[in-house]
């Protein structure tokens, strides 16, 4: 049974993804972090950062402008996505869609990355650095930071390689290019696998912190834990830390998935407009 014409006239995935892209900047934080019951509170999304220390808000003008630019990008991208989905066969459709269709996907992936990196840095680096700031036992030893920093760098490279590989695969599936991407895909796969192996080896060789004065166990992205900092023989600070992804993040994940599907699905609209694909299609029909 053939689908009704209206179902095939538009890219409905793109319309849904575009509407979500227009709504996401106004839906609140994707992630919240709290130390204690408000000693430090953070609400974070790619569009807004709300941080406060006690009752005093903390705002950086530069960060604020960057987040505003992200918000504007999403609004423009969402608008373009809706337009290109309503008029998928227009000459401008493919270009406009390319501007914003993958932004929810990249936002979701690279939003999680600094959260993971931050927790890694806090759990691995801070116990070595903090005691030296108040002249604690052990002092500051640069050697103790080399392996943790190498691990973090290798981890970032592996995630970037994975993201690039996935983007190339999506591009291939959506038939946006007919060139063979096998060599490039193999390269990125090798990079990703080797970086993951290097990250695991590096992490297993990171020595335990020389100081017992700082015990940080921040959860990775989401969870609850208690951290302890001892300042000489004077004070001990114990703080519960609660991190959580909000429902808005999962809406963004849905938008990201819709963006990927949109890009793949849009290929069925643009394929007839690509001359070499049209010839290929004609040749296949002739064979039959």
């Amino acid at each position: 049974m053939k689908a009704p014409r209206i179902m095939t006239m538009f890219n409905w995935f793109g319309i849904a993804a575009g509407i979500m892209m227009l709504a996401l900047p106004f839906m609140g934080p994707w992630w919240t972090g709290t130390v204690g019951t408000g000693a430090l509170s953070v609400g974070l999304s790619p569009f807004d950062l709300q941080a406060s220390l006690g009752s005093t808000p903390l705002q950086s003008p530069l960060v604020g402008f960057f987040l505003l630019a992200t918000k504007i990008t999403f609004l423009i991208g969402g608008t373009f996505l809706i337009l290109s989905s309503i008029f998928p066969k227009s000459w401008w459709s493919r270009s406009l869609m390319g501007f914003g269709v993958m932004k929810p996907f990249s936002s979701a992936v690279f939003f999680l990355l600094p959260l993971i990196i931050g927790a890694l840095a806090a759990n691995i680096l801070l116990p070595s650095i903090l005691p030296s700031l108040w002249g604690g036992a052990g002092g500051f030893q640069i050697n103790s930071l080399i392996l943790p920093i190498v691990f973090i760098v290798v981890f970032i490279v592996s995630i970037y390689a994975l993201y690039t590989l996935v983007s190339r695969l999506i591009s291939k599936i959506s038939r946006e290019t007919e060139k063979s991407q096998l060599k490039g895909n193999i390269v990125y796969t090798v990079i990703f696998v080797s970086m993951i192996v290097a990250a695991v080896v590096t992490y297993n060789n990171i020595p335990p912190p020389s100081s017992t004065q700082v015990s940080l166990s921040l959860p990775y992205v989401s969870g609850t834990a208690t951290s302890t900092i001892q300042i000489g023989n004077t004070a001990t600070i114990t703080a519960p830390v609660t991190l959580a992804l909000t429902g808005v993040f999962w809406i963004a994940v849905v938008a990201a998935a819709l963006g990927v599907v949109t890009r793949i699905y849009h290929g069925r609209f643009i394929r007839p407009t690509m001359p070499h694909l049209a010839e290929e299609k004609h040749a296949k029909r002739e064979k039959k």
Partner: protein, 169 residues
């Protein structure tokens, strides 16, 4: 093809503008000052510093006032009442306090809080410490010596070890 190329160039320039624009805007509205553009407002930083000064003790100008109001002994139980004035702009809770009480160089009691005490922001509260009196005579010049106290601020627990000299005044 020219239209499509022009559109692609335009979209690329839009992306570049949205990437570089925040830098330019942030510096332009902050007199091209890196510190002002990147860091929070100086008033907010000063407010935080003001609230936290003296929290960990050791500051002569912390502004906190701990006044020994009364020391009484009854049936080998010594009761000490102190008045604490908070200099901090946030509420705090004294969860536990244990201090050695001395008189003329000799320890006469180890006194402790029996229940937590909530102190409002920049407020004053009386804290009662009790313990077993081990001195022979009624105290003449009671003083606080070493001890410890546990304070909770915004859910963060801070345990302070009090050196000789007792409570911060």
């Amino acid at each position: 093809m020219k239209k499509e190329t022009g559109l692609k160039i335009g979209l690329m320039l839009l992306g570049v503008a949205l990437s570089i624009g925040p830098f330019i805007a942030a510096f332009a509205v902050n007199d091209w000052d890196l510190q002002k553009a990147f860091l929070p407002d100086q008033e907010d930083i000063a407010s935080i510093q003001n609230n936290l000064t003296g929290l960990f003790g050791g500051s002569e100008n912390s502004g906190s006032t701990t006044t020994l109001e009364n020391v009484s002994v009854s049936d080998s139980t010594v009761t000490v009442q102190i008045q604490f004035t908070s200099p901090f702009g946030f509420a705090m809770k004294f969860k536990n306090m244990s201090v050695a009480l001395t008189d003329q160089g000799a320890q006469i009691a180890q006194v402790a809080m029996q229940s937590p005490v909530d102190v409002p922001a920049r407020g004053t509260k009386r804290i009662t410490l009790t313990g077993t009196f081990s001195g022979g005579m009624l105290p003449v010049n009671p003083q606080f010596e070493s001890g410890s106290m546990t304070v909770e601020v915004y859910g963060v627990t801070i345990t302070l070890q009090l050196s000789s000299g007792g409570l911060p005044t």
